[in-house]
């Protein structure tokens, strides 16, 4: 068989193959991937927006229903990025098909770009669908669209990276669920998705500032309504910091072959 061409410096066919494979997986489970989060979000609107929200004072002049939209999108971004990316890399480890990835002429950077890129793409699409769904319930305005897109992209990329790390670390399905369920979900609920941390007593307010999620949600909400719990600069700095931390962890994983290679 003929194969004399020197391999390219960047294996774009390889990256594209993984990306396509991962997106195809989402399309195969379209109901689970897209319809479920949309229904869940709609339920939040019915419960918090319409039923309870109508009795609440509007924080910062924004109706409560509209106020929770950025938080809900963030909530979906966190959980979907984590579950997509962690499952994407964990499943080949579980079925054994990882052998092919490890024996292929793809670099670690390419593997990360493909898996994290696919997971992030899926959660960004989902975030936009939730935004569209929300706009059916409440009036939405986006004061700073560039920042909004920047937060959306950075958060999707960061949590997909984080999910990728969890997927490599996990030794079983239980561990795969562990961090999203026991760490991320509580931090999100306590991170101001449904309220402004200004509403909290002083002690809890100070405590909340240790929760990294607060900064992500605050910054994202600022890009919508111009009001934030913490300054947007700090929010972006935290997002970038979290992203770089995950990147460093991934670099370490590939350098050592941690839970991938013997």
């Amino acid at each position: 068989m003929s194969n004399t061409a020197a391999p390219a410096a960047f294996n774009r066919h390889g990256v594209w193959a993984i990306y396509k494979f991962e997106v195809a997986r989402a399309l195969r489970t379209l109901v689970q991937s897209l319809v479920t989060p949309v229904i869940t979000t709609s339920l939040y609107f019915v419960v918090f927006g319409a039923a309870i929200g109508s009795r609440l004072a509007a924080p910062g002049g924004v109706s409560y229903g509209a106020f929770i939209v950025p938080g809900l999108i963030m909530l979906a971004l966190f959980t979907e990025s984590l579950s997509n990316a962690s499952f994407g890399i964990y499943f080949p480890k579980f079925t054994g098909t990882i052998y092919e990835l490890l024996s292929a002429p793809v670099s670690y950077v390419e593997i990360v770009i493909a898996y994290v890129g696919a997971a992030a793409s899926k959660s960004i699409v989902l975030g936009l669908i939730i935004l569209a769904t929300a706009s059916l319930f409440v009036p939405i305005k986006i004061l700073h669209p560039v920042w909004m897109v920047a937060f959306l992209l950075m958060t999707a990329a960061t949590f997909s990276l984080f999910g990728f790390i969890i997927g490599i670390w996990a030794k079983g399905f239980e561990q795969l669920q562990f961090i999203p369920m026991l760490v991320i979900t509580p931090l999100t609920f306590l991170g101001g998705a449904f309220y402004s941390i200004d509403m909290l007593p002083q002690a809890w307010r100070t405590f909340s500032l240790f929760n990294p999620i607060v900064y992500l949600i605050s910054g994202f909400r600022w890009s919508f309504y111009g009001a934030a719990d913490v300054s947007v600069g700090i929010s972006m700095a935290m997002t970038v910091g979290f992203f770089l931390t995950c990147l460093a962890l991934v670099a370490w994983i590939f350098k050592t072959g941690y839970r991938l290679k013997n």
Binding site: M1, N3, A6, H13, A104, P105
Partner: protein, 307 residues
């Protein structure tokens, strides 16, 4: 002939302390079929996984077509295809999608015509739109081979290709391997079916407990270590070998009932001469049987002798 894979001083010890390979040196020649024989746990799969990049060697160096598998992994891996022992497949994917995926993963531009002819060669074309989970074990094995060949590799590793495969598929597999070799693909297969190595291989390596014990041309190996035996069952037992037959390598067995003649290697036995001589001595033969040691006998001898 040029070595297409060169393994030098490769050792592997796992974190548990288990020494899977000990200083293995091996050159695989371009275009040959090389069979790696050894019992379970001998280190066959570890050696293959090191060459393919799945396991990191503790020491030593491997090159594929001159490319170092660590520093020039792109060049090395793009010419290697691997069919692992386990049937690990993406159950929900179609045959076509999974084979196309593999081609892309290995850096090759899409080529539907090639994939189509590959699937045809492997009798998979009519299953191209079937999900892998609906296929039989033998079909899944073919899918794994198609994946490994999807990027047109020059070197193909087959780790236990016929384990748990029925006779028909095994024959198909053998003819496939020969066909690939005719097209210039170098093939390294592991097996513990000695019959398979005997049937297929040009050269044979025997590995046991992480040591590559010998590497030899198959015919040489058979010649060197194989034996031919002629057993003559006598009408009347002999007490001792007659003086006239002393020049032959003969021994008496079964209380003088059997006269056994052994020739080492592929040396032919001049049966007519021996029978004529026996006739002259009025030794009557009831029955006779010949036995040529198979690779299996050789292998069992080797492993038990040196273990």
């Amino acid at each position: 002939m040029a070595a297409v894979i060169s393994i030098s001083g490769v050792s592997k010890s796992y974190a548990t302390g288990f020494q899977a390979l000990q200083l293995v040196n091996l050159d695989i020649e371009k275009g040959e079929i090389f069979a790696l024989l050894g019992p379970n746990g001998a280190g066959k799969t570890t050696l293959i996984n090191i060459v393919c990049g799945i396991v990191t060697a503790s020491s030593g160096r491997v090159t594929a077509d001159g490319h170092d598998i660590v520093h020039e992994y792109r060049a090395a891996r793009s010419i290697i295809g691997l069919v692992p022992q386990e049937l690990s497949t993406d159950a929900f994917e179609t045959v076509w999608a999974t084979v196309s995926f593999s081609r892309g993963l290995f850096g090759r531009a899409p080529n539907p015509q090639f994939i189509e002819s590959l699937l045809r060669d492997l009798s998979l074309l009519d299953k191209r739109n079937s999900k892998i989970m609906t296929l039989s074990g033998g079909m899944k094995r073919r899918v794994m081979i198609a994946k490994a060949l999807s990027h047109e590799p020059q070197i193909l590793f087959l780790d236990e290709p016929t384990a748990g495969v029925d006779v028909e598929l095994r024959r198909d597999m053998w003819s496939l391997v020969r066909g690939l070799r005719d097209r210039g693909v170098t093939i390294i297969l592991t097996t513990h079916y000695i019959e398979e190595a005997e049937e297929m291989a040009d050269r044979i390596g025997v590995i046991n407990k992480g040591n590559l014990m010998l590497v030899e041309d198959k015919r040489q190996l058979m010649k060197k270590l194989g034996k031919k035996q002629l057993t003559l069952h006598l009408q009347t037992p002999l007490l001792e070998i007659p003086e006239a037959l002393k020049s032959w390598e003969l021994e008496l067995r079964s209380d003088g009932q059997d006269l056994v003649y052994t020739a080492d290697g592929a040396g032919s036995i001049d049966i007519s001469m021996l029978l004529k001589r026996l006739g002259e001595l009025s030794i009557v033969i009831k029955d006779l049987q010949t036995h040529q040691s198979s690779l299996e006998d050789i292998f069992v001898n080797l492993v038990s002798e040196r273990a």
